[in-house]
Point group: C2
Chain length 113, copies 2
Amino acid sequence: MEIHKRSPCPVACALDIIGDKWTILVIRDLALGRQYFKEFLASPEGIATNILTNRLQRLKDAGIISALPDPGPIGRFQYRLTQKGQAMQAMIEAMAEWGLRYIEGTSKRLDPI
Amino acid sequence: MEIHKRSPCPVACALDIIGDKWTILVIRDLALGRQYFKEFLASPEGIATNILTNRLQRLKDAGIISALPDPGPIGRFQYRLTQKGQAMQAMIEAMAEWGLRYIEGTSKRLDPI
DNA sequence: CTGTATCCAGCCGGATACTG
DNA sequence: CAGTATCCGGCTGGATACAG
């Protein structure tokens, strides 16, 4: 899963990581407090399990999320944004503002966990 | 080229338009003052001609760019950001800042036209 | 249950040929 | 030159089966 750098442009390099229809949504969910595989699956966009696995792996490789074993009885991971991941919130917020302003039928509230 | 809306989330809806590795780069180029097919092709990432045609069409359909016949002798179009497109600059700037801060080997300056 | 892997249709996109 | 179309290998992602 090695990333090929197309140019030194920070925008292009960011797109090499997050340039698809799903990655940012996972980060959005994490920013909203979701932490578990099941919670990401429950988001209204309906990400497929194999895609979610793939994106979690890529984000971990990129240092944007961490996965720590959940203390609870179920063998699962607790996913969290690293500082590098948290720093993406400004960008996501800018996307949200643009969408709200320019795309009809959008609304800010997402179903609670 | 109809867009299927996955959810009312403004982030998800924005991604339905710009969620790939090339679209944002075209908008970046437009924001930097590039206006012609040839200029987009000359960007260091090396977009293919068929992909560029496809993205220009999509962006036009989405109301993010306009294409007006160039007054010069060559039969070509002059592409420009609409207001809706210009409003994406805050988001792109946030991406650039994130990339500069968190991805090694990135630098802000792009070759001039 | 948590997550991974596999199947497979369809889209993406690089190379290239083509039209005007 | 400006832009489009076509070929075709490889990736994406939905459905589903699978493993712990």
